[in-house]
Structures are given as structure tokens and as C-alpha cells.
Amino acid sequence: MAKTYDYLFKLLLIGDSGVGKTCILFRFSEDAFNATFISTIGIDFKIRTIELDGKKIKLQIWDTAGQERFRTITTAYYRGAMGIMLVYDVTNEKSFENIKNWIRNIEEHASADVEKMVLGNKCDVNERRQVSKERGEQLAIEYGIKFMETSAKASINVEEAFFALARDIKRKMEKKMEATNPPKTGSHQLKANEPTKKTSRWFCTVL
């Protein structure tokens, strides 16, 4: 049986309404941009498999509705996320200020060791810029989070951002595996060199 991927990472895109979460995701998953996007109602996800250090990593990226009112539903999907992209719009001051609220939101609803990254999107629109790159960097330093300015439209840094986040998760995961693998004698371990390693997707098929 073919091996479609080695790892599955669940990522999440959050941020104010209209900052470009869906566009970033569409750029990354389909490598395209569409000016006539529709607002996201509820939640959806897309999948793209990337390769990192010879490992195939399936990224399952969840896209959420930005409006605060819908947080009761969107936060239900925070659980199990391994990485979160916090997106703001460099042409919208308010969306930048709200990043702090989004971080608080994560602290409440996501697991404590989730990898985070801040993205300042629409960096191609310099004439309407309200948030400088320096302020973005400053905020990221404050919270100890990685930061990038992106443009889904001009295809700037989108690829890089997801690869960086995936790399951080992979590193953390391998560390964890190293730490837990040797002492555990359980029968459920996967050996690194197992030939037919058809790594799992879900736990859903068990019952």
C-alpha cells in the first residue's frame, strides 16, 4: 500500500474578519488568489501535503469565521490544533490590536504547547498600510512568537510561513517522541523504520 504521508498536523487560522485568512489558505492549498472570495461562515478546512526533511507531512488547516460572535463555535475546533496562525491585516489597525485578544483566546481554548505564529497579511498594499512591520515584529517579540508579513494576493511568504510553522511542530513532536519512546513498552509504538508505515489519520474508525 502506498504511503501517503508520515505525519498529520492540524493547524488553525484565526484573526479578525476580512484579514485574509481564507485567501492565505487558498493561496497555500491551491496556489491561487481569487478576488471574489466569500466570507467564511462556520468553519472549514483544507489539506496540503508538504515534504520536510524527507518526511511527508499532511497539513490539515482549519479556517474559521472571524467575527467575535461566532467564537463559541470556532473555539470548539481549537482542541487538537498543533499550530495556530494569528492573522491581522496591515491596512487595518484594529485587526492588529485584536491579536492580543486572539492570543488570550488561544490560551483559554487551545492546548498549552500549541505552536503559534503571527502573520501581517496584505503587505503588498503599502499605500493603505496602518501597521508598520516593526510593530508587528515588536508584538511577536513580546509574546515570543514567530512573525512574518505575507500577501496572499502577491504570493509573498505564504509558503514560507506554513513551512516554518510545520517545521516547529515537527521539531517539537520529534522531541516528544524521543522523550516518550524509549521508556514506554506499550505495544502501540510505531518504529521509525517500519516499512509499511501507513500512518494514521483518525481515531474515528475504531468504533
Binding site: 474578519s17 473555539t75 494514521s200
Partner: protein, 678 residues
């Protein structure tokens, strides 16, 4: 992404794909070629359109100027059926090229979960829909020559299929070794803190899991007994047992497989009668309902006709105003002219209010600013592929904006919430008039406004009611969803929030809404529409063993592809089935406004109007129109969407017996978040 680098092992020409989208009446068909190529990691299935294939991969047109046929499809509800797009340069060029013809389909054969094959009538070819493991559904392939088996045979070099026992059209990939491996990996539990599958739960806490399972039985019986009209609310154990033996011969308790987990196998419901839709109401039929003064006569009969067949498109502009309550049915033409004049006047007064806010005022009015920003953002991405809203600087987009801004002045407490622009857009398209569209929209919001409230109470109540409906009408499906982390029905959130606006094509949603606006055949009929859609997809969901993400993906991928007439038939049929059901619990009778047929009750507050009787004029004792109004939030015993988890363990919480709380009690509990996922 042309047939990448691997060896092509199979070629099949003349395979067609429909391009669907919200604003296409007829789906264009593209003919193309299916290939299977051999890659180091296995087989890859691809489909490319034939026409206009530009070998250099150069853009034929710019995506910004063209109407994006395929990409708007892909953006709204697409799936990851193009998983290997790392060669960015190459695929950008190809993407640009594909503005007028469909994008390629490309997926790993190993990602296949199942396929569905439907033979078209009269030998007009066959359709194959693939379902991938992530729940996504690439566009359906159409084989005009009925020769899809060649492709399936080619696929069987990589994977085996077996026919589903429940759905004759469904073929599942057979992977004997998969389950063991999946299980082992899932139990590594690298990141998930807690998995909620039953096995895991059982290992963690056998007592709770088992008792939780058992409590489902008691919960069911308790609910049944409590809500059975003739039974006393308090009775001794012996009485309960006796009553069960007498009145529940059809409930079987499954003790063989998985003791303690899946308990109630079936509760026999009456058969579903066959239902046929009728033709839309035509101009002369409508005019026959107007008397000399212009008053509408035989209202219930008219509503019944609209319920059965909808309206001719050209009549919508006039009739929707009545259905939505902008014009009273019993008003004369003269009265309506007067009313309309006043309403238009009122509208422009309110419009002037926000129009006259100066930029300086605005700097000190953050609530106004925020709403303005939100509306600006949303109107610019509402139905922009519909001809009415297409293109840059479209004046109709400005109308959307003005109406929504004015609505903020009309209902400042609610303001603007995402989704409202979706509700307004078809109304504006039909009315073609700013003030009329506003008032129709305002009336619509009277009925669905609670969906948008800050505390989301309207949504919670509806999800809870929908759960109750599924729980009763299809316990199997309900159980399946529960055991796959989807018992909260969040995957139906979009359906309910904007009343299926994103699920049906634009002209179909107009049909569906006008049917709902009649208020027939029962209260909250939209919940039965939800059930009808799920009912049609049930086998696909369950046979593919979809879990939470796959269920959500599958549901999202159905967007703009659902057949409205089929769904309406099925929903009406379910209605007839439930209305004939003698065991219909009181909670469902309340939710749907259906009265169980027997035993007869002396007190009746609600009269249901089965279509068969509605042809005679009947006074609608509910008076108010029509559209789903969340009601009776205290009636459901399954208060899971609002309740606080008593122990933090959802397995117990979901299945424990709950006594109907007092009103005040409920209010307090509603404050607590309804996130019980965890």
C-alpha cells in the same frame, strides 16, 4: 500540474465533469481525459479538460477580469483534491489558464475512501463520484458511454473495492490491515490530550463509559415515559416496566454486539409516504387569488400551492412581500400603496440618519465604525459572481451596503452580523428596489434575527432542537454522530445560520425560502430539511466511517450541489411520517407543532395542517408567519447544547438522565458556554 513525472499506466478519454457554482442555472460540462500515473508513492488519478488546452501553460485570460467559473467553486467549498501542489511556478501558470475551464482533478489513489456510481436513466451514461479519506469530494465524473468500469478496473490494481451492504451505489475501499495500524497510531496520542472514542473512553474509565452507555437506555426510556401523553409523570419502577412491555414492543435492546454502547436499535416509525412536488404558482393562478379590491383570498390554499411548488420567478417580486409580512394579505391594493409610500418614507429617514454622521462624529463612534467596516468587507464578497452583483464598482453592491447600514439604524441592538448580507442578497435581486428590499429583509430578520444575537441563543436552541429531531427520527444516525464527535451538530451551523443560503444554488434558495415562508406544513420545517439532507447522506457518512473532520468536509463540499426538489420531497415525507407517529414525544410535538394522532387529547392548542386538508380554506390559528422561529427552549430533555458539563466527562453528560428544569434554572444554565466538545 500536468500528469506529473510518473509513467502513465491508464488513459480514458471522453470523461466529463460538471462545473457547479452558486449562480449557474445549467451546469456546463467539460470533456476531458482521465489518467492514472505511477508515482514512487503509488498511483495518482488525474482528470484534465480537453478544450483550450494550451500546451505552454500560458494564461489565456486574466482571472481578475473573467468570471471565475471554477475557482469560485474551489474557494467556497473546495477540498484538498490537489494535494501535491509544491511546484508553485508551474501551477500558478496553469491556474491562470483555467479560468474558463475546470481545474484539473488530481488525487492519490491511496487517498480514496469510496466511490458512488449512479447509472443515468435510459442508458444516458454513468456518474462516478469519488470520496476521499479527508471527507472531500472531487467533482463528479460523468461517463457518457457508460464505460466507467474500465477506470474502476484500472484502480483495482492499487486497491480493492467492496460494495456497501447498505447503499447499492456505494463501493468502499477495502483495506484489511488498515484498522489495526490506525488504532495503534491513534493511541500514541501525540498531541491530543483526550480522545473521545469509545474504546479510549472505556480504557480510561470503564465504569463511566459503561454506565454512560447504559444510561442511554434509561435516558431513552425515561424520556419516552415522561413525554408520553397519557402516562403519569411519576410512577414506580414496576409501573415503568409494565408500561414498557405494553407500549414499546418495537424497541429492541441490543445486547449482543458491544454491550453497553449502542443500545437502542430501532423504534419503528410509520412508513414514509411518497411525496410529489407540484408546478410553481403561475400568474393567472395568483391573479385568481386577488379580489376586485386587490385583497388576497383563500390564503391558506395559496400558501399550500406555494408550499408544494413555489412561485414563478416573475411573481416573486409581488408575492414575497406578502409571504414575508411586508404587506398584509388582507390589505387592499389602495392600502398597500399607502403603506408602501409610508414605508419608503421611513426607510429614507433612517438612511439619512447614518448618512449624515460626519467623519468627525465617526472618530468618536467606534460601534458605528466597526459595523461600517464589517459591512463594507462583507458586501464586497457577497454573491459577486451573480450577474446582479458582478464587476467592480457595481451599484447594486452599494445598495446592499446602504440597506445593511440602514438596518443598523433600524435595529441598533443587533446591528450587523456576518451572514446577514447572504440573507439580503436574494431579496434585493428579486425586489430590485432599495426600500422594498429593506422592509422585506427587516421582516425576514424578525424571524431569523435570533440566529445572530450576541449570546447565539437562537443557534443553540435550533441545534438542540435538531438534535432532538434526529435523536427520535433516526437514532442510528444520532448514535453515529455522537460516537464520532459530531453530536453537537456544528457541521449544520451554516445551514441554520443563513437558512441554507450557501447550500443551494441561487435560484434554488429562492424556491426553498418561499416554501419555508409559507409556514407549512409545520413549525420549524427547516429542521426537517436538515434531517432530509442528512438522511440522504447518511449512508455515505456512515459507510465511509467518516469522523468529525470528514463529516464536516463532506457536508461543506455539498454546497451548491443539493437538489432542492428532492430535499423538499424527503422533508415533507418525513413530516408526514412523524405526524402519523403515535409515539411522538411531547418535546418534538412542541418543536414541530405536530400533534400526535392518537390517543386523542381533549386539549389542543396547535392545529397542524397536513397538505391534504389544507386545500380547503383554513384559518391559520398561528397568525404570524411562518419562518422557523426557535421556540420552546425548555421542552427538550436533551439540553446538551446549553448545559454545563457536570463532571467534565461528556460521555456521562450526554447520556445522563435530565429532569426538565424550571425556567429560571434554564436561564442560568444558558449563560454557560455550549461548547461540550471537549
Amino acid at each position: 500540474m500536468m500528469a506529473s513525472n510518473g509513467n502513465i499506466t491508464y488513459v480514458h478519454d471522453g470523461v466529463c465533469v460538471y462545473v457547479s457554482g452558486p449562480h449557474k442555472d445549467k451546469e456546463p460540462i467539460f470533456t476531458g481525459r482521465v489518467t492514472i500515473s505511477e508515482q514512487p508513492y503509488g498511483g495518482v488519478l488525474e482528470w484534465h479538460a480537453n478544450e483550450e488546452v494550451n500546451e505552454t501553460g500560458r494564461p489565456l485570460s486574466s482571472p481578475e477580469t473573467e468570471n471565475l467559473d471554477w475557482e469560485d467553486v474551489a474557494s467556497g467549498f473546495s477540498a484538498g483534491y490537489k494535494p501535491h501542489s509544491n511546484q508553485c511556478c508551474e501551477s500558478i501558470e496553469l491556474k491562470l489558464e483555467t479560468t474558463k475551464k475546470p481545474q484539473t482533478i488530481n488525487f492519490d489513489v491511496a487517498d480514496l475512501k469510496s466511490y458512488k456510481c449512479v447509472q443515468k436513466k435510459k442508458g444516458k451514461g454513468s456518474e462516478v463520484t469519488f470520496f476521499l479519506k479527508d471527507g472531500s469530494t472531487p467533482p463528479t465524473l460523468y461517463f457518457p458511454k457508460n464505460n466507467h468500469m474500465c477506470l474502476i478496473n484500472a484502480l483495482e490494481k492499487y486497491i480493492q473495492f467492496r460494495r456497501s451492504a447498505k447503499d447499492a451505489h456505494l463501493y468502499l475501499v477495502h483495506e484489511p490491515q488498515k484498522e489495526a495500524l490506525e488504532k495503534s497510531f491513534s493511541e500514541l496520542q501525540l498531541f491530543r490530550e483526550q480522545s473521545s472514542d469509545l474504546v479510549k473512553r472505556f480504557f480510561d474509565d470503564p465504569y463511566t463509559a459503561t454506565m454512560g452507555g447504559f444510561s442511554k437506555v434509561t435516558n431513552f426510556l425515561f424520556e419516552y415515559v415522561l413525554t408520553n401523553e397519557n402516562s403519569p409523570t411519576k410512577c414506580s419502577n414496576e409501573e415503568v416496566v409494565q408500561m414498557l412491555q405494553e407500549s414499546l414492543p418495537s424497541v429492541e435492546i441490543n445486547q449482543n454486539e458491544e454491550p453497553g454502547f449502542e443500545v437502542i436499535t430501532c423504534m419503528e416509525l410509520p412508513p414514509r409516504p411518497e411525496v410529489k412536488r407540484e408546478d410553481p404558482v403561475l400568474l393567472d393562478q395568483w391573479e385568481a387569488h386577488l379580489d376586485s379590491e386587490g385583497q388576497v383570498k383563500d390564503i391558506e390554499q395559496l400558501k399550500h400551492k406555494i408550499f408544494k411548488g413555489g412561485l414563478l420567478n416573475s411573481l416573486r417580486k409581488e408575492v414575497w412581500k406578502f409571504l414575508l409580512g411586508y404587506f398584509p394579505f388582507n390589505s387592499t391594493k389602495k392600502e398597500r400603496e399607502k403603506l408602501r409610500k409610508k414605508k419608503i418614507d421611513d426607510y429614507y429617514k433612517m438612511k439619512l440618519q447614518w448618512k449624515s454622521i460626519t467623519p468627525e462624529q465617526e472618530t468618536r463612534f467606534s460601534a458605528f465604525r466597526e459595523r461600517k467596516n464589517l459591512i463594507e468587507k462583507d458586501v464586497s464578497r457577497t454573491d459577486r459572481t451573480h450577474p446582479y452583483f458582478m464587476g467592480t464598482e457595481n451599484a447594486n453592491v452599494q445598495l446592499l451596503y446602504d440597506i445593511l447600514m440602514t438596518y443598523c439604524m433600524y435595529n441598533f441592538d443587533l446591528g450587523y452580523v456576518q451572514g446577514m448580507s447572504d440573507l439580503l442578497s436574494p431579496i434585493l435581486v428579486v425586489m430590485e428596489n432599495e426600500a422594498d428590499a429593506f422592509w422585506c429583509f427587516a421582516e425576514f430578520m424578525e424571524n431569523v434575527g435570533s440566529n445572530f444575537e450576541l449570546d447565539q441563543q437562537g443557534m443553540k436552541t435550533q441545534l438542540q432542537q435538531l438534535y432532538s429531531v434526529i435523536h427520535f427520527a433516526d437514532p442510528h444516525l444520532c448514535d453515529y454522530l455522537e460516537s464520532h464527535d459530531s453530536g453537537n451538530l456544528y457541521f449544520c451551523f451554516r445551514w441554520l445560520l443563513i437558512l441554507f443560503k450557501r447550500e443551494f444554488k441561487f435560484h434554488d434558495i429562492m424556491r426553498l425560502w418561499e416554501v419555508l415562508w409559507t409556514g407549512l406544513p409545520c413549525r420549524s420545517f427547516h429542521l426537517l430539511i436538515c434531517l432530509a439532507i442528512l438522511d440522504a447522506e447518511k449512508n455515505t457518512l456512515m459507510e465511509n466511517q467518516f469522523g468529525l473532520p470528514e463529516i464536516l468536509k463532506h457536508i461543506n463540499d455539498m454546497s451548491y450541489k443539493i437538489n432542492p426538489e428532492e430535499v423538499l420531497c424527503r422533508a415533507e415525507s418525513i413530516y408526514l411520517q412523524l405526524s402519523q407517529c403515535q409515539h411522538l414525544p411531547q418535546s418534538l410535538q412542541d418543536i414541530l407543532g405536530i400533534q400526535a394522532p392518537a390517543p386523542p387529547s381533549p386539549v389542543s392548542s396547535i392545529v397542524s395542517l397536513p397538505p391534504s386538508t389544507a386545500s380547503a380554506p383554513i384559518e391559520d390559528i398561528r397568525h404570524s408567519s411562518s419562518v422557523p422561529v426557535p421556540i420552546n427552549k425548555t421542552s427538550s430533555t436533551l439540553d446538551r447544547f446549553n448545559a454545563s458539563p457536570p463532571s467534565g466527562n461528556s460521555s456521562v453528560e450526554n447520556s445522563s438522565i435530565e429532569v426538565l428544569p424550571e425556567d429560571s434554572d434554564i436561564e442560568a444554565r444558558y449563560q454557560i458556554s455550549f461548547d461540550l466538545m471537549s
